[in-house]
């Protein structure tokens, strides 16, 4: 599934990397531990987190993730957006909680890596 389809389906608000919504989403990962994401997230997965600081971009870039979704309407920090644009990492925001969003993503066919 393309990131773009997920953005439309769940009404995600795109905060950065809008030119990279053609990224293919190969799965999903949810975690607020960056080391955990570093260790276990795979190429192309969509990462659901509540962190908004710029380190999430470094992690996503390192792991080749397809994008980051911030939950509970949390706005990314200014530095985070700038860094995401620089590293071509899409960042999106949802008002849903992580649990709700992940449940819906799963229903839409996104699976854990």
């Amino acid at each position: 599934m393309k990131l773009n389809d997920i953005v439309k389906e769940f009404g995600l608000e795109v905060k950065a990397g809008s030119r990279h919504l053609e990224n293919e989403v190969t799965g999903g990962y949810v975690s607020d531990l960056l080391s955990d994401v570093m260790a276990h997230a795979e190429d192309g997965v969509l990462w659901v987190t509540l962190h908004i600081h710029q380190n999430i971009v470094a992690v996503a870039s390192h792991k080749g993730l397809s994008g980051i979704v911030l939950v509970q309407g949390r706005a990314p920090e200014k530095d985070t957006v700038a860094k995401a644009e620089e590293e071509n990492i899409p960042i999106m925001v949802t008002d849903l909680s992580a649990f709700e969003l992940v449940g819906r993503l799963y229903k839409a066919g996104i699976r854990g890596a």
Binding site: L33, L34, S35, H53
Partner: protein
């Protein structure tokens, strides 16, 4: 649908020669030094001319104008009819297929297969004879062009080869020890810039031709080491050394050191302060990740002077 795809497939596979016949003109491949005869010369004279010039046919020209073509076939017929002293005018073909100097080779080839003649006179647009073209001249012209392209590609390939991929470099040079060193300074007590050294190192190694799976392992391990420097230390350096057998990445800091290294290596053990945990780090997984990603790992620490982490990565593992 299937047919369409097939046709498109064929179109995609246009060969270099097919492409060239649309680029080259008749004028580029024709022979411009043409042996010609006059219509009032005899067939006997023609025989000698053909023999001496090793040709099997030639244009007949009168007052600068092309009036016909005469070939060895006409000569054989004349011999057969015992008419060897007849003027060329009586034996030549006057219905002549011509080509123009600015026509593309593709038209010329079509003409060859349509009429079956062995040669065609080439005219300028002012209808003057400027050359002659045979199948031989087409082949020669194509080969010449292919040769030029080939040499061009060869030169280009040589330039590409000059790009130093690491393996090639290590094969080409000789010394008792060869290595590339990359050094990055990491600021302590701040996670703002953390990850920069790891991603810059990853880029550098990519440029050296390190394969993606290895690149990823080095990237993750270096990132974790960098996070540790930034979270717990007064700052330090990350140093990567690229050698023939593999890559060593070291993270060296200036303290405060780890009191219990064995415990620090246990998954989930962490001494991270709140500000680090708030950013999603400090779960006691960094060193575990490093161990998982590297082929060899060594952690030495003294309180309070500092910690020296060594990670080794082999090219084949």
């Amino acid at each position: 649908m299937a047919t369409q795809e097939k046709e498109q497939g064929t179109l995609d596979r246009v060969t270099k020669t097919q492409e060239m016949v649309y680029e080259i003109t008749v004028g580029e491949v024709m022979a411009s030094k043409v042996v010609t005869v006059r219509p009032d010369q005899t067939m006997s004279e023609l025989r000698l001319l053909m023999r001496d010039n090793r040709i099997s046919g030639t244009p007949v020209v009168e007052n600068g104008k092309l009036v016909g073509m005469i070939s060895i076939e006409d000569l054989i017929n004349a011999l057969n009819d015992n008419d060897i002293n007849a003027p060329i005018r009586d034996k030549m073909k006057t219905k002549v297929e011509c080509l123009y100097v600015d026509e593309l080779l593709v038209h010329c080839i079509a003409k060859f297969s349509k009429h079956g003649y062995r040669r065609y006179p080439v005219l300028s647009r002012a209808e003057e004879l400027v050359g002659i073209i045979t199948k031989g001249s087409i082949v020669e012209g194509l080969l010449k062009r292919l040769e030029i392209e080939y040499e061009h590609n060869e030169a280009k390939a040589a330039v590409t080869r000059q790009r130093p991929t690491m393996r090639k470099f290590f094969e080409d040079v000789s010394a008792d020890e060869i290595s590339f060193t990359f050094k990055y300074n990491v600021v302590g007590q701040s996670l703002k810039e953390a990850g920069k050294a790891a991603s810059e190192l990853k880029n550098a190694l990519k440029k050296l031709g390190v394969c993606p799976p290895l690149l990823r392992r080095i990237g993750v391990a270096t990132y974790e080491a960098e996070i540790n420097l930034a979270s717990y230390t007064k700052g330090g350096v990350i140093r990567a050394q690229v050698e023939k057998w593999g890559i060593t990445v070291e993270a060296v800091d200036n303290g405060p050191g780890i009191p219990d290294v064995e415990r620090a290596m246990q998954p989930g053990y962490s001494t991270a302060p709140d500000w680090v945990r708030e950013l999603g780090f400090g779960a006691g997984m960094g060193l575990v990740n490093i161990k998982k990603c590297s082929d060899e790992m060594d952690l030495k620490s003294t309180v309070p002077s500092g910690t020296h982490l060594t990670m080794q990565f082999y090219y084949t593992s």
